[in-house]
């Protein structure tokens, strides 16, 4: 059976006057039905570009350089505009970072929710839909304008819109980054619960490795426009196989025990102008060798993970990539079930 | 608003001479078809309305400027040619001016001069004001006395009137203190209009805001600066006049808009200000443009009273006077439609010959010599002008010709009101030189009165009276028509240029365009009071069968 979503050597460039910036540099990623995948990466890693590419929502100066992206076997970049709209309507759902900005400021919440539900077989019961995302007093909220809502409320409304049609894949681009920490948990929990109920797969984009690891079944770590490590969340968190994943885990202040010194990643993330000649992390990597700079790594299998590192196998054998403060980072709540036998 | 033709007043004395001046009308007569103006070759006329056409219809006219300014609609206070144009449709005078500047009967059907200071006017007995009341000698006496009491400049133009008395219901006698040659000419202009004195005295008419006259039309509607509607006066005393039922006048300051209206037929008759308009309208079908020679002329004020002016030295003034190339002004700035003139307007019977004057000889060496004598070789002065066409062009030609004798002219162009303030607002006026024009009127002596600032007080700010000049002016205005007067006029012209505080330049033409397919009009070849609408009541509409 074909995977729900598959990116195959996907490369996307942004064209600016006088220069080109490579955002995706050959992404390989699949999402199976019912799976929950977290994409972790810092700004510039390409995760948002990947998320946008899935809905073909890239800005106009973005260009597909090579590779393919398929949803349910349909190659997105070959679809007509009409076909693409059908895919978006029937198979995809999106939740974005800015909850209030994602709602039309000039329309009452109820009106725009109704507009979004119209003609797609979803229930037109606005109150019901708002109740589904656990909004108290849905009637009052339906009458409110977006700017009168808190971020958490607005994000719930946006989720209600995205999930009303029970899409096959929900792309959530940092949906909780703009929310206060208390609300974050509730919102994420709700998204995962709704998705589980509807059998929707989730692609969760985030910069917070630990948070994603707690929720998702699988984690893919992006760096320099590629997925450098991809595997079950618990494995990636506990036993990162890529030096970058390791560095990322160790640099989060929350991961440090009291009195423990943080291990920052030296240097700064790259801005690619074309295909990276070697491993994009090589300049910041404590383990880099000459080969890392000149030869693009190919995926290797390290236990459950797929890793883009020339030295992955040797490092896996050593203790070099041990995560400190592991205890605090490991999920305290069990991951949401993977959706049974559907995959 | 740019075309406010502010006109000087002047007095004309009775003119009987009938010297026909035709030079003025040759340049602009571009009449393209002669079917509607069968009598156009009649002497003194540019066009004669075809009286065989049926009366009736409405005539659409466009003109530059409205009649009423701050003085209101009182004809006796009117000092703008534009005001005279429109007011003459309603008000009439005892006498009027014929095609060759001869004085013709109007409200007075005849007059006698028992001696050279007494005039006896025999009034028509069929004249009514448009309210239906018959005009009487009392109206005439009252009107003339009113003008004499107003103390306006026109009062001076009427001359040394001693008394006005009603001899009987239809006879009025005017006694002068001394002979005054331009008296009849002065009576022939709008400020000498006969008003309905009974209505004015009993307060039922306010002449400042309403018009009630004996003329061919009555005012049906007036929107200041927008439009007038004149309707025929059914009781008008002239037979077969007016020839149209109504005249709609639109006030259109912009020349191009008037030309446009004429071309697209939305106006049948327009007054024009640009000397090139006749040429511009050459190709337009059914459009005729007639250029009326005027006695109006441009003159230059050279300020002798302001200490900072370079013209306190008469030699500098004379040099400038000599160096200005009048012919070039006429040809270039006025497109050949104007003519060099002395102080007596060229074209007016009895006027002096401008070619014999120092200005006509254009002796540049003499001019340079005068400047050198005065120690003013590298003279620079400012010339204040107002922006109404073609004054800027005239100024620029002056600038060019004075460059020949090494004089630099800096032109300062002002809007009309500011110009007035600068030139007339204070004494001494704070300017070097200024350009303007006077209406030349119907008698050569009238306008010369402005060269005596003691009489024409508005000039006191920049000139002083000259005893010799004043004497010559008085002579010209009191000596009857004849060789003696001609000699005095010649001397006067020379004296003006010698004095050179105000130097005459060129005459100023006026243009009238009309649709030959819409209207048949009458127009004098020459005009002394800047009134191209003088014969409007003769106009007849042409109807396409």
């Amino acid at each position: 059976m074909t995977p729900l979503m598959e990116a195959d050597d996907l490369a996307v460039d942004y064209q600016a006057p006088g220069r080109r910036v490579r955002a995706l540099d050959g992404v390989d990623l699949t999402v199976a039905r019912g799976e929950t995948v977290g994409i972790v990466g810092e700004s510039g890693s390409g995760k948002s570009t990947l998320g946008s590419a899935i809905g073909r929502l890239l800005s106009q100066n973005a260009q597909l350089s090579h590779g393919a992206l398929t949803i349910d076997g349909e190659s997105l970049f070959d679809l007509s505009a009409v076909q693409m709209r059908r895919v978006r309507r029937e198979k995809l759902g999106f939740v974005f970072q800015d909850p209030i900005g994602s709602l039309d400021p000039t329309k009452r919440v109820g009106a725009q929710l109704r507009l979004a539900l119209r003609g797609r077989g979803a229930s037109l019961d606005v109150t019901g839909q708002l109740e589904r995302v656990r909004l108290a007093d849905p009637r009052r909220i339906a009458r409110a304008y977006p700017h009168q809502l808190s971020g958490g409320m607005a994000q719930r409304v946006a989720i209600a819109m995205a999930m009303a049609t029970e899409p096959e894949l929900l792309v959530a681009d940092e949906p909780t980054a703009a929310l206060d920490s208390q609300v974050r948990d509730d919102v994420s929990t709700m998204i995962f619960a709704l998705a589980a109920e509807a059998g929707t797969s989730i692609l969760w984009l985030s910069h917070d490795l630990a948070a994603v690891g707690r929720r998702c079944g699988r984690v893919a770590v992006m760096y320099g426009g590629r997925v450098v490590e991809d595997g079950p969340a618990s494995e990636v968190l506990a036993r990162p196989a890529h030096p970058y994943t390791h560095a990322l885990a160790n640099s989060a202040p929350a991961s440090a025990a009291p009195g423990e010194r943080l291990q920052p990643v030296p240097g700064r993330p790259p801005v690619l102008t074309g295909p990276s000649p070697g491993c994009a992390f090589a300049d910041r990597c404590g383990f880099a060798i000459e080969r890392c700079r000149s030869e693009r790594p190919r995926p290797v299998r390290i236990k459950a993970q797929s890793v883009l590192c020339h030295r992955a196998e040797e490092l896996a054998g050593s203790a070099a990539l041990a995560v400190h403060g592991v205890g605090s980072a490991v999920a305290t709540t069990p991951p949401v079930p993977l959706g049974g036998d559907r995959s | 608003m740019r075309h406010t033709n502010r006109t000087g007043l002047s007095i004309a004395c009775g003119v009987t001479a009938a010297v026909l001046i035709t030079a003025g009308c040759s340049g602009g007569d571009t009449s393209t078809d002669d079917t509607s103006t069968p009598a156009e070759s009649e002497p003194g006329y540019l066009a004669v309305a075809d009286s065989s056409l049926p009366a009736g219809g409405e005539l659409d006219v466009q003109t530059h400027i409205d009649a009423s300014v701050a003085t209101g609609l009182d004809p006796q206070l009117a000092d703008l040619a534009a005001a005279w144009q429109l007011m003459s449709l309603v008000y009439e005078t005892l006498v009027t001016v014929g095609p060759e500047f001869e004085i013709e009967p109007a409200l007075a059907e005849s007059w006698d001069m028992p001696d050279d200071t007494t005039y006896v006017f025999h009034l028509r007995d069929d004249v009514q004001f448009s309210n239906g009341r018959a005009m009487t000698a009392d109206d005439v006496v009252g009107s003339l006395e009113r003008q004499l009491e107003l103390g306006s400049v026109w009062t001076g133009q009427l001359g040394p009137v001693e008394s006005v008395t009603a001899v009987d219901e239809h006879t009025v006698e005017v006694a002068l203190a001394e002979p005054y040659t331009p008296f009849l000419a002065a009576l022939a202009n709008v400020p000498a209009s006969i008003l309905p004195m009974r209505e004015i005295e009993d307060g039922t008419l306010n002449p400042e805001t309403e018009m009630l006259g004996t003329g061919p039309f009555v005012v049906a509607d007036h929107r200041q600066d927008v439009s007038w509607r004149f309707e025929r006066n059914d009781d008008y005393w002239k037979q077969d006049e007016p020839g149209v039922d109504a005249v709609n006048v639109q006030i259109v300051p912009q020349e191009a808009a008037r030309i446009a209206a004429l071309q697209d037929g939305s106006a049948s008759l327009v007054t024009l200000g640009n000397v090139d308009s006749p040429a511009l309208l050459q190709g337009a079908s059914d459009v005729s443009v007639l250029t009326q020679a005027n006695t109006d002329f441009y003159y230059l004020m050279l300020n002798s009273q302001w200490e900072e002016s370079p013209f306190t030295d008469p030699r500098v003034r004379q040099a400038v006077n000599m160096a200005i190339d009048r012919a070039q002004i006429a040809d270039v700035a006025l497109a050949g439609l104007g003519h060099p003139t002395g102080v007596t307007p060229a074209g007016l019977p009895g006027a002096c010959e401008p070619g014999d004057l120092p200005s006509g000889m254009a002796d540049l060496d003499a001019a340079r010599e005068l400047l050198a004598e005065a120690g003013a070789e590298n003279l620079t002065f400012e010339l204040a002008i107002f922006s109404t066409d073609p004054a800027p062009a005239v100024a620029q030609v002056i600038q060019q010709s004075l460059e020949e004798i090494g004089v630099t002219v800096e032109i300062e162009q002002l809007e009309e009101t500011s110009w007035n303030g600068k030139v007339y607002g204070e004494a001494p006026g704070r300017f070097d030189a200024a350009l303007s024009w006077f209406a030349g009127y119907a008698d050569p002596g009238m306008v010369t009165k402005w060269w005596n600032p003691d009489a024409a007080g508005f000039n006191l700010g920049f000139m002083e009276s000259d005893a010799e000049l004043t004497g010559l002016i008085d002579t010209v205005n009191s000596v009857p028509q004849g060789p003696e007067r001609d000699a005095a006029i010649t001397d006067l012209c020379a004296a003006v240029e010698d004095d050179a505080q105000m130097v005459p330049l060129v005459t100023r033409p006026s243009m009238v365009g009309y649709r030959a397919d819409a209207v048949s009009v009458s127009l004098h070849a020459d005009e002394g009071y800047g009134n191209p609408l003088r014969l409007l009541s003769e106009a007849r509409m042409v109807r396409a069968e």
Binding site: D180, A254, P258, R261, V265, R268, R284 | -
Partner: protein
Amino acid sequence: MTNHDGTRDGAHLRAHSGAAGNSSPVLELDEVTVTFSSGLFRREHVHAMRGVSLRVEPGETLGLVGESGSGKTTASMVALGLRRPSSGAVRFEGAPLPRRRRELAGRMQVVLQHPQWSLDPRMWIGHSVAEPLVALGHSQPGDAVRAMLEEVGLEPSFADRYPHELSGGQRQRVAVARALITRPRFIVFDEAVSALDVSVQAQILNLITDLQAEFGFSALFISHDLGAVRYVAHRIAVMRHGEVVETADTETFYTTPVHEYSRQLLEAL
């Protein structure tokens, strides 16, 4: 470029405890209330701070945590003397804040949130760093600037670059250098690392702790990120709805938070 120098580890943790006993606080907020009111006629009062009392001891870093809208940014403005409290007192080095800003010049500095706006984009890095010294009347700060840049792990040649040539992390280093160049007694870090990528954040956090050990300044470290606060602060104050709900030593707070809200925050970490 980074300070991987492990020898300073933990040194700062002891820095304040010795000093706290006998000297007055560097900064003290005493029952500070800040009320925003708006409108010409209408007086609508919003309490941004309600009876907030805070103390920063010499050599100490006080961490201030809270959600957006909790009043912590207002607290920072009050501490910096940029906003006068509606009631309550602010004392700096034992004395009320002077009316004239310049009297504080050089003794108090700030590092703010946005890397892209922390430095004037039209100014050379060298000028930016030198600015506080220039304000104090120094005319030749070039050497001091170069030295300070090295201190924050940047090459001295950065002095003649423009901010846009630097990464976000480098800009925050420059901001720290600028704050430290006058050797101030007190620095406010207002969300100073929040906008940085995780991998870079740690660099700046380490830099701050290292420099504090070296220069001994006191600091108010404001952030919504409990993890970062916990890492650099000696004591932590938690703000909510304009009030301080809990103040505790970091260790105590970490292990046994008292207030319900503090517990929630820790759980979400």
